[in-house]
Amino acid sequence: MNFFDKLMKIDRRIIFLFVAAAVILPFFLSIHQKILISPEVQGLYDAFESLPPGSKIMISYDYDPASAPELQPMAVTAMKYCFTKGLKVIILGLWPQGSIQANMAIESALEDPRVKEKNPQYGKDWVNLGYMSGNELVIQRMGTDIPVTFPRDYQGNPVEDLPLMQGIKNFSNVDFIFNLSAGYPGTQEWVQFAADRFHAKLGAGNTAVQAPGMYPYLRAGQLVGLLGGMKGASEFEKLTDFEGKGTKFMLSQSFAHAIIIIFIIIGNLAYFISRGVKKK
């Protein structure tokens, strides 16, 4: 067995060690990675920017803790941005843990001095309507009547008692919808039911796994913008000037990708060279 054959049969745990080193080391380095803005993230930011203070924005948290490393940075940044810009936020979740992730995002956002200065209040600046089962049918129902779909908020208060919910009947009373999604139900359902059926203006933040499937909707104009995975989160943080975990994690992401690319090249080289040696 020559060197290349041995390389082909390398123990996967050695590769795991390299990947672990590539992920851990950047946390202790003080290298600042340049983040370039992609058109889809710029599109989403422009949609946020076009909203005047006081606009009502709906954020649907359709994910759970398993996808939090990718989506939570987007959620925190969106909340910080909305609070500092004076946008009124209506939160809901089509996943049971979604509204809890929203509360965590708000807790993080409220720690920011710029947000503290604005002193956002529950019921006036944001409401959390909680989770509702029914997947896409919840969206369909909201298209005709939001208070009937969510008669009470996450804390059990009747929605008619919340100042922010006054005058909210359906999607035509919401200026923008931002969906954070890790699967089903998620962005595809929001596109099909809210954007295409009820003509709501929709943007999304997705896990990287899901993002490629959303590009056709972006190109067709059914989505105004898209944040894809941690890279999308870091770009959004840069545009909004709220540097957070998305930016912090990008160096580890890049190092890990570099290691994987190196192993792909080594693996292919070893394969072709060992095949050439055997042919001779």
Partner: protein, 218 residues
């Protein structure tokens, strides 16, 4: 109490990660805890956030209206129908009368098919076809022209590849081959995104272990 929770979370994370070395009893233990807690959480969450406020409170409200005002015309009675359908669905757990569960299932299949027929036709077919009908040459903008040409060639050759009524030979076969290349590039891009996603999850856990738990990362 928070520190205790932190330690539990960290030890469970390490327990799950131990699978990377090899399958072991600690991993199995952590996996079982995860499955059990997830099932429990889902049940409690669905009960208190959905069944209780949507089913119980609505039906109780309808009964109250009937008793106090003598009115039977209340939209909330519809929830009783949903509740009965739900109970019928659960009857599949009783083998002798399990066939009853087919009725609510038929209701779900029928309504879902009807609903999705329209939405998919509109969102995934009509809108996508419309976004593909684009000018190949845009005067004064070479970038968009190239992008539109790629979209056109990709869609055309991709469709040719999936046309199986004719043998893939000659120019037709060449177009199909280009279609395969487009599909391969798409799969590659998807795989790249998947790697990014999985790495993000690992980074999230590393941040938790070294930052939140050990306090080594600021």
């Amino acid at each position: 109490m928070e520190t205790f929770g932190l330690w539990i979370a960290a030890l469970l994370t390490l327990g799950i990660m131990s699978f990377l070395y090899k399958d072991n009893p600690i991993y199995k233990f952590c996996e079982s805890i995860f499955i059990g807690i997830s099932a429990g959480y889902w049940f409690v969450s669905l009960f208190w956030q959905s069944m209780y406020p949507r089913l119980y409170l609505n039906i109780r409200g309808a009964i109250s209206t009937l008793l106090h005002e003598g009115r039977i015309s209340d939209d909330r009675w519809l929830y009783l129908v949903a509740g009965i359908l739900g109970v019928m669905m659960l009857l599949r757990l009783v083998p002798k009368i399990g066939w009853i569960s087919r009725w609510p299932l038929s209701f779900i299949v029928g309504s879902t098919a009807g609903l999705y027929f329209i939405t998919y036709l509109q969102s995934n077919i009509m809108n996508q076809i419309r976004s593909t009908i684009i000018p190949i040459y845009v005067p004064g903008n070479l970038g968009i022209s190239i992008s539109n040409l790629i979209v056109f060639v990709g869609v055309f050759c991709g469709l040719v590849y999936f046309f199986f009524s004719r043998e893939h030979k000659g120019a037709f076969g060449g177009a199909a081959k280009v279609g395969i290349w487009f599909l391969m590039i798409t799969f590659g891009a998807s795989f790249g995104f998947t790697v990014m996603s999985r790495m993000s999850l690992l980074i999230g856990r590393i941040d938790f272990l070294f930052g939140t738990w050990l306090g080594l990362i600021k």
